[in-house]
Amino acid sequence: MVRLRGAAALAAAVLVLSACGSGAETPPSASAAQPRVLKLWHYETPDSAMGKAWAEAIKKFEASHPNVTVKFESKGFEQIQKTASMVLNSDEAPDIMEYNKGNATAGLLSKQGLLTDLTEEAAKRGWDKLLPGGLQTTAKYDDRGVMGSGNWFGVPNYGEFVMVYYNKDLFEKHKVPVPATFEEFTAALDTFVKAGVTPIANAGAEYPAQQIFYQLALTKAQKPWLAAYQSYQGKVDFHGPELTYGAQTFADWVKKGYIAKNSSGLKAEDMGVAFMNGKFPMMISGSWWYGRVASEVKDFEWGHFLFPGATLSPGSSGNLWIVPEKSKNKDLAYDFIDITMSKDIQNLLGNSGGLPVAADPAAITDARSKELIETFNKLTSTDGLAFYPDWPAPGYYDVLVAGVQNLINGSKTPAQVLDEIAKPYEDNLQDIGN
């Protein structure tokens, strides 16, 4: 009797579950008038240029899709970075998500079959026409997950690059002209050091120090080296002139006092705050600081310039909109990307301190934003975006953090550091395509 009752309960449970299952499998687009939900995740803060632009895009989307509600969830960069593959492999995946670009991130997910191929949509909706060549690099990935060729697996709609922020008041006080060449730049650094001022704000525990090291290597690098390093189109000699110059010069800069010896344990926030408090004349970092510097610096005049003596600068497209393979509302996700590419949203992005890719130049009215966009256009017109040093291999960010910290502390020679960073790079080469 007990068994019979148990069997009946089990049968009922199976029926209920299968009913749920069949309900869930009903295509959401069965009826156009049926209410639908677009699940969207991104990690931009509400006061950033992108945060403002995406909030407006959500409003526009809901206005043009009356039967659709956007269910937006704000996530942390690290949170998405660390869990993306597991989330996208589950049934909890959003319909559209912002994700970091590069081989070790979007490339890895595309290789794992977790991202929707957007090639057809990019052509149909004209996204491929809106993005200049250099910016398309991070949108496309081949079968091995290597960027630059293959199918579209993401759509970037803003840009970013590394530049030199400078404190105009401190430059004037120490009678330092804005440098146009590498020699003038080092002369400026010497002037500050002689006056007892450490010229460059730095942070060794996070990305800033490795970007300075990479920028120094880029002063000696040409396009073929970049293609080899970032896209594995050739062999990279870690003791070749580019990286040797980067490591050696970085170590020399620490010895000469251009970079503080006690900056190896500092985080990017420490660097930014120190510059914004007027403690350093220069900060070599990305355009992602631009809006914040503009709104927080009140006590001194500041400006920016591209790193002198280099045709290449760290930089790329911004993060990507990706559509998970398991998205249940791909059509809506494409519509949303389309809206973020529209002139209105791109202009808003530009006027909020961001770097739009498809804005109307005449509509950018903010003087500082205009200046930033002009520098970015100068860089993209010469195809000068060199991506970031940690892109070539998964986990390479930490390898570079550790390596550059050793340069700051002087605990290892530049040659030893280059050996240390070469090994994980070479190991990864064997993994590509596996």
Partner: protein, 287 residues
């Protein structure tokens, strides 16, 4: 008798099921993953003992275990030693001279770091140890890069961990001292024993079970320490403060190298099991 035993099993069944589901199955899955090459998605590829062979050759892995030894000293040995003296002083001297309320207040103050979330404590220590504007350098007129200098970083993390852990043994030992028969101390006092003699011959032997528990739990905590390293140094500078759990985490989440990360986690779990077993055996013998 047989019926009675069955009855006990019925009560144990829920926790047994929970133990199997929450501990045994994930652990076995982790062991299984450690024999594969797997990015966390797709089909894992069986590679036998390759990950373990790689571990044996991996300098970073062995380095991380060396740092673990330092952290066992900082999180288990030193807090136990200081905790014994403090608990004894609070119980024997402060409580008698200044009242139990004063002793309880001091005990709570020692315990406060244990109540603080590790992230909060880590961020605050990060500020205090900042090389430019940190309170520690300012107060002592120093110019040291506490967390950024590879020669100092591990010692600094160890010092922070002593501060963080100290309250735990103090609370446990004071609770232990409550159950020691006061007659022992009275007899010793009549015999004219000094404080140190009472501490050595009465306090320590009487609260030996508590000392074992504290040493065991703190050693396990030190072996699997993650939070303080994540907040304070992220394993740096260089790899000066890398520990196995953070090393495993890097492989899991940064490198998508789930197979290798699982091998690290498996070795760490086995070491913790062996250490626990040895502690329990020693404790059994001592009793």
């Amino acid at each position: 008798m047989r019926v009675r035993t069955r009855g006990y099993w019925l009560y144990l069944a829920p926790s047994l099921v929970l133990f199997v589901v929450v501990v045994v199955v994930p652990f076995l899955m982790n062991v299984g993953a450690s024999f594969t090459r797997w990015s966390g998605v797709g089909t894992p590829r069986w590679i036998g003992f390759d990950n373990y062979a790689r571990l044996l050759r991996d300098e970073r892995f062995w380095q991380s275990f060396q740092h673990n030894v330092g952290l066992i000293v900082a999180m288990a040995v030193v807090p136990t030693a200081i905790g014994l003296v403090l608990a004894s002083a609070l119980f024997d001297y402060v409580a008698k001279r200044f009242g139990t309320r004063t002793a309880a207040t001091l005990r709570a103050m020692y315990y406060l770091p244990q109540v603080l979330p590790v992230a909060v404590a880590g961020v605050v220590w990060g500020w205090m140890l900042h090389p430019s504007y940190g309170a520690v350098n300012q107060i002592f007129h120093l110019d040291l890069d506490w967390l950024g200098d590879p020669d100092l970083a591990l010692a600094t993390v160890m010092a922070v961990m002593v501060w963080f852990q100290l309250g735990y043994p103090v609370v446990i030992f004071m609770a232990g001292l409550q159950r020691v028969d006061p007659a022992y101390y009275e007899a010793a006092e009549i015999d004219g024993a000094s404080w140190f003699r009472k501490f050595w011959h009465i306090t320590i032997p009487q609260i030996r079970p508590e000392i074992f528990v504290v040493l065991l739990t703190c050693t396990i905590a030190a072996l699997k320490v993650f939070g303080p390293i994540f907040v304070l140094t992220r394993g740096g500078p260089g790899n000066a403060t890398m520990v196995p759990s953070y090393f495993s985490y890097l492989n899991f989440f940064q490198k998508s190298n789930v197979g290798y990360g699982s091998a690290v986690a498996t070795v760490l779990a086995l070491i913790i099991i062996v250490v626990t077993f040895l502690f329990l055996r020693v404790q059994e013998r001592a009793q």
